[in-house]
């Protein structure tokens, strides 16, 4: 799902935030079941199991107790700009709201024995029933779920919430812009309930008596049950109440917690929602009394606090640590330092219309992988590992191909050779980078050094860090963007399928196709895979991944990513959520 913060895209910077939402794939645990992070990079687990039968209440976490306040520090992560469920496509916002405040059709639950994430029902009574060719999905809405004001959630409200996701104008950064508008029936003609006011939309229907919501697709969409796990696929109050952007400031909660106060980039406070009942929810708990999320926390201060072990830190957790303290954390916290795999890949995207395949190959050898990770505060081998493909580890169908026979590493001499053979010595690279953060600037210096050592000439365009590089890369009219021939994207899967990776990055015209890669045959193949039998699709995506890399090599995968979470002593069940690449908020409690 989503990109991670742009500075990170080029530099794969750690301190920077994952703006991206969910990945699929398994737990933080390696084979031995150890949650500690001393063993290097751990792959996400193979697949996400589904359990359509799961009903509330969720089984109690062993030893869990109620009460207490959990404080979550998010170092350098500004968090969501608003809380409108339809607009939530960042890993941070989605993981918090999905787990605590906003329910949708389906959801993920962590199996605390195996660490695997399981797709289970949420507001729907099961995982939905598709027709034979997956062009029509019907979900039955449970009758015991309520809003925070105690009113029951109706099928109409769910249908309305889903319909909102079609409006790319009102929710430009919502996940609906990628999925709803691509798969839902007539989404090319209907621009959403706010932009096309008053128009009738036939794609989503509901039956209040049978409590069903039916979604019609324009093409087979077998992953609708995964897509249902986005909070954007949940209810919204009818009428003016849910008008954007006002609704985003204080949305009505449906989960075990409701919003007490929200200051963007600063703080979000959640308190118990008394209207929520455990019986209505197959996966969430309501252990803590209160949650406090501190956005954009100072990384150094957060580290000090977490390492101090004082009363304040005992009930706190941090969603990131700085690399300089990795060894200390590993030693002091042990099991409470959780390494969570995220199904994410960092890429370099040379402009397909301006560069040749040889130049792109040379670039791959010119990227000083480990040095860049080091400079940007990652722990090489733990939070970043070399990548071979676009599909991240743990995604079923991922191919272990090596485009050059073996893992591409930093080899300036080889890059020089390739450039010389292609007659492109001294090829000029134009790239943008963020200024104002020492880590990003240091990483950029490493990149420039690597490129220069490899025989490239580099012109870099500094952009103040307040401006996301994505803003520049995705704006075709941007002055700087027009000069660039090297961009990048960090991308995480929305669910464990190649369909959330390859099309988003490589389909002609896709927003985050910053390489401007465009091959008709590839576009056609992407659409074709969606029509294949379900069990053949993963392998087909893997094969397509390899084919694209072998024939065109349009984007250079630079790293697969992992996150490190530090939990305080009294936080019970310190685990990560493998589906979202975030702490497992649903199952955390304060030990008494």
């Amino acid at each position: 799902m989503r990109r991670t913060k742009a500075a990170a895209a080029l530099a794969t910077s750690a301190a920077l935030v994952t703006l991206a939402a969910c990945g699929g794939g398994g737990g933080n645990d390696d084979e031995t079941g150890s949650g500690s992070s001393g063993e290097g990079f751990q792959d996400a687990s193979e697949t996400i199991a589904k359990d359509a039968e799961r009903q509330g209440p969720a089984p109690d976490v062993e030893g869990a107790s109620a009460g207490g306040t959990i404080t979550v520090y998010l170092p350098d992560d500004p968090g969501p700009e608003d809380l409108d469920p339809t607009n939530g496509w960042s890993v941070t916002g989605n993981s918090i709201q999905q787990a605590l405040t906003h329910r949708s059709l389906t959801q993920y639950s962590r199996d605390n024995e195996t660490g695997e994430m399981i797709l289970v029902p949420d507001l729907a009574t099961d995982l939905g029933s598709p027709n034979e060719d997956f062009t029509e999905w019907t979900f039955t809405i449970r009758d015991d779920a309520t809003w925070e004001d105690g009113k029951p959630i109706t099928a109409e409200e769910v249908a309305w919430g889903i319909e909102r996701s079609l409006d790319s104008e009102a929710f430009p950064s919502g996940p609906g812009t990628e999925y709803s508008t691509h798969y839902f029936l007539d989404a090319d003609k209907y621009k959403g309930p706010y932009t096309d006011k008053g128009k009738d939309y036939k794609g989503i229907t509901f039956d209040e008596d049978a409590r069903t919501v039916t979604i019609k697709m324009s093409m087979p969409f077998p992953d609708m049950d995964y897509w249902g796990a986005f909070m954007a696929m949940g209810p919204a109050p009818l009428g003016k109440v849910s008008d954007p952007p006002e609704y985003g400031r204080s949305p009505l909660s449906t989960g075990p917690y409701k919003v007490e106060s929200f200051r963007p980039s600063e703080e979000l406070v959640l308190v118990k929602n008394d209207a929520w009942t455990a019986e209505s929810d197959p996966a969430r708990h309501q252990y803590a009394d209160k949650w406090i999320f501190k956005f954009a926390a100072d990384p150094t201060q957060t580290d000090e606090l977490m390492l101090s072990g004082n009363t304040e830190s005992q009930t706190a957790l941090s969603t990131g640590i700085t690399s300089e303290n990795y060894a200390k954390f590993n030693q002091d916290l042990g099991e409470r330092l959780v390494q969570q795999s995220a199904q994410c890949v960092s890429t370099w995207a040379p402009d397909y219309t301006k560069t040749s395949k040889e130049v792109r190959k040379a670039l791959a050898y010119a990227y000083p992988y480990e040095s860049v990770w080091q400079a940007s505060g990652e722990v090489p081998g733990v939070t970043r590992v070399p990548a071979n493909s676009i599909m991240p580890p743990g995604m079923s169908g991922k191919s272990d191909y090596q485009v050059d026979g073996e893992q591409i590493t930093f080899q300036p001499e080889k890059a020089k050779e390739i450039l010389a053979e292609a007659g492109e010595e001294g090829y000029e690279i134009h790239m943008a980078y963020n200024t104002g953060s020492p880590t990003v600037e240091a990483a950029q210096k490493q990149i420039e050094k690597g490129l220069t050592d490899s025989g490239f000439k580099v012109t870099s365009y500094p952009v103040p860090i307040e401006t996301s590089l994505y803003t520049i890369w995705t704006d075709p009219d941007n002055k700087i963007n027009k000069k660039l021939n090297l961009r990048g994207v960090n991308w995480c899967s929305d669910w464990p399928s190649g369909s959330t990776m390859l099309p988003a990055l490589l389909r002609t015209g896709a927003t985050y196709n910053t390489a401007f890669f465009s091959e008709e045959s590839i576009d056609a193949k992407m659409d074709e895979i969606g029509t294949m039998p379900l069990e053949e699709q993963p392998a087909a995506w893997g094969a397509l991944d390899e084919e694209i890399a072998t024939d065109y090599y349009p984007i250079i995968p630079t790293a697969f990513r992992n996150d490190l979470f530090a939990f305080g002593e009294k936080i019970g069940n310190p685990t990560g959520d493998g589906a979202l690449g975030a702490p497992n908020y649903k199952d955390l409690y304060v030990a008494q």
Binding site: S323, A327, K328, V372, Q374, G381
Partner: protein
């Protein structure tokens, strides 16, 4: 022959020289010819703190001037190195993220006497030496510009009076109302936007920093000088010069200025350390010099390491503290030396 009455009597307390009664002797001539400046220097020479501070300041000045030679002598440079060649990049080894040689986990490494920076692998000595140059270059130039501007404006405003004085005073007050930090924060992104891609980005950064610093500090000098001039211009010797038909320029620079030496020297001696600190402070905030080596920038990078690699933080900090302290104490001593009321 009689000794000049003013000689030994007034200067005696300032001089350790034995009383000389022969005005033709060498010593007697020296004593009798002393200007206020010479008197002050003489006092300074005897002030142990002043001498020590002067030596420290001189050391920093020399380091700044000969930065290239010093770096070469130690075989270090500012060039970017591939981080993983000098830093421990294998997470399985102890000290991951820290230098493979030298502090904090390994013994002294003669190739990098002050060690290496974590994350980037940059040489600390080179950054310290060139940071010293940046610091003094900016502080020195800004001081000169600010004092010259302040002196000229103050002289003109004070001496001309009337409308000119009112206009100049208004300009002074106007600049005093602009908050310095806010202006610096605002201008920085504009500069990046305008010059970010040009080859002279680093020079532009330094020039703009000098401009910002001097633009917001000349007012205090101007006010000080204006006040002094206001009281001086009604004195007899100025009236006499006017009556004699001396051109205004000559009155300003030959009659007034020498009498303003003390306030000027004092304000300069206070401005220098303030600028050194301001440069480091702005760089720490990320709105000063970021393109080249700077102490403030190194300090800002080193803060997260204060517990694990304290030396990294201490080096630039020591530079700033020593330089600012020495300049301040020297400034104090200079003020005392120039103040005729001081008893020693």
């Amino acid at each position: 022959m009689s000794a000049p009455a003013a000689g030994p009597e007034t200067l005696g307390s300032l001089s350790d020289e034995p009383d000389i009664n022969d005005p033709n002797s060498k010593q007697a001539k020296e004593i009798s010819g002393k200007s206020p400046m010479q008197i002050a220097l003489g006092r300074l020479r005897k002030d142990k703190i002043a001498v020590t501070c002067a030596i420290i300041v001189l050391f920093f000045v020399l380091v700044a001037i000969f930065a290239d030679l010093i770096a070469k002598a130690f075989g270090v440079s500012l060039d970017t190195v591939t981080a993983c060649e000098v830093l421990e990049c294998n997470f399985a080894n102890p000290g991951v993220g820290y230098p493979k040689t030298g502090p904090p986990f390994h013994p002294f490494d003669p190739e990098h006497p002050l060690g290496l920076a974590p994350r980037t692998g940059a040489d600390n000595l080179a950054h310290w030496v060139y940071g010293c140059r940046t610091s003094l270059l900016i502080a020195g130039t800004a001081t000169v510009i600010a004092s010259v501007t302040g002196i000229v404006v103050g002289l003109v405003a004070g001496f001309a009076g009337g409308v000119v004085d009112r206009i100049l005073s208004f300009i002074i007050d106007f600049f005093l109302t602009i908050p310095f930090l806010l202006a610096a924060l605002t201008i920085s992104p504009i500069i990046i936007d305008r010059f970010g891609t040009s080859d002279s980005y680093e020079t532009v950064q330094i020039v703009s920093l000098i401009a910002i610093l001097s633009l917001f500090t000349w007012m205090s000098v101007a006010r000080l000088i204006r006040g002094e001039v206001l009281s001086l211009r009604e004195r007899e010797f100025i009236h006499a010069a006017r009556v004699l038909g001396m051109p205004t320029r000559r009155i300003l620079f030959k009659e007034l200025l020498p009498n303003l030496t003390a306030p000027i020297v004092i304000s300069v001696s206070l401005m220098l350390p303030a600028f050194v600190a301001a440069e480091a402070g702005l760089a720490f905030l990320g709105i000063g010099v970021t393109g080249s080596a700077s102490w403030g920038q190194t300090i800002s990078n080193a803060v997260p390491y204060w517990s694990n690699y304290a030396a990294f933080l201490w080096q630039p900090l020591l530079g700033v503290v020593a330089l600012v302290l020495a300049l301040n104490l020297l400034g104090d001593a200079v003020r005392d030396a120039f103040d005729p009321k001081t008893r020693r």
